[in-house]
Symmetry: C2
Subunit: 186 residues, 2 copies
């Protein structure tokens, strides 16, 4: 598979009532996502944050661990945040990947909902072909229909075994990356 | 596979220097672990906490969401914590599972280190046979050698694709459960 990029989306996503909202950044997500991305050698990850004040907060966290005193204290965290980038919107993440790769990425949505035409994670490499992949994950209660409809493909949900349907986004990212790229898959 | 139980172990685990320590509880882990366990229909999960004061904290968190006002506010969290139990040691978790199942569980260690004889997660069902499984996860820098040697089996590590070797325990639990029980596996 070509290079894979991840975007952790804080807007537009649903809240519990199904309204489209912006969620707050969970600092722990930045570290977890960094470690997961590094484990599976994702080429980079983007945190999409619509509010300027929250973007600054995320930038400060990243700076602290990547270039400030945090990194001296914990080289593991420094490495984990090396591929982190803050952007305002999904479009900016798309443009950043396109600029870096010299070609537009194949955009892939994820959702806990059953959608017609969704593809198994294991088949993503075939679907994307030679194009880099930008994999979108929604915080809160998930990516909006608009985002999913605008994507080139959507992955089938992680259903597990029961009817419970609300994995933490950190866990969903880990499981999807393992299904797509796990332990030496090409 | 028979019933699977999870233990999130806070002692004995290694710290960064390889010393055996007790780690502090991360409240977020309780929620994440609950959601992951429920998604894959684990029969129960144990949080092993050696210090009385921390055990009380965990019990209060569980009570708040399971039976207090938190549960009224968020039925999802209430469900996610329904299978949570606090114990002092791995032995207590073992005894609790044995008491509940009427037979001793097959104890399985996990580690990021490469150990001779470790089995692939996908083969755990065959190894355990009819016995219930108690799957141990270490916080901090992982379960000690003593715990791993005393277990009936150890799972092969999640290696991903690169040399980075420090997944958050939340992510490791999600990936292992998906490999063992994912999407309708029996």
């Amino acid at each position: 598979m070509a290079n894979l990029y991840i975007a952790l989306v804080h807007w537009p996503v649903y809240n519990r009532e199904g309204e489209t909202v912006a969620t707050s950044v969970t600092p722990l997500d930045l570290h977890d996502l960094g470690r997961i991305a590094l484990t599976y050698e994702a080429a980079g990850y983007y945190v999409t944050v619509p509010y300027e004040s929250q973007r600054r907060l995320v930038e400060e966290i990243i700076y602290h661990w990547r270039e400030g005193v945090g990194g001296e204290h914990s080289p593991q965290r420094q490495r984990a945040l090396a591929a982190a980038n803050v952007v305002g919107t999904v479009e900016e993440a798309f443009d950043a990947v396109a600029g870096r790769e010299g070609t537009e990425p194949f955009v892939v949505g994820t959702t806990a909902r059953q959608l017609a035409g969704a593809i198994p994670a294991e088949r993503l490499g075939d679907e994307a072909g030679e194009r880099p992949v930008l994999l979108l994950f929604g915080t809160g209660y998930g990516l909006t229909e608009d985002i999913l409809l605008a994507a080139d493909a959507t992955l089938q949900p992680i259903t597990g075994r029961g009817d419970f349907n609300h994995l933490p986004v950190r866990a969903a990212i880990a499981i999807y990356l393992d299904r797509i790229l796990g332990d030496g898959k090409e």
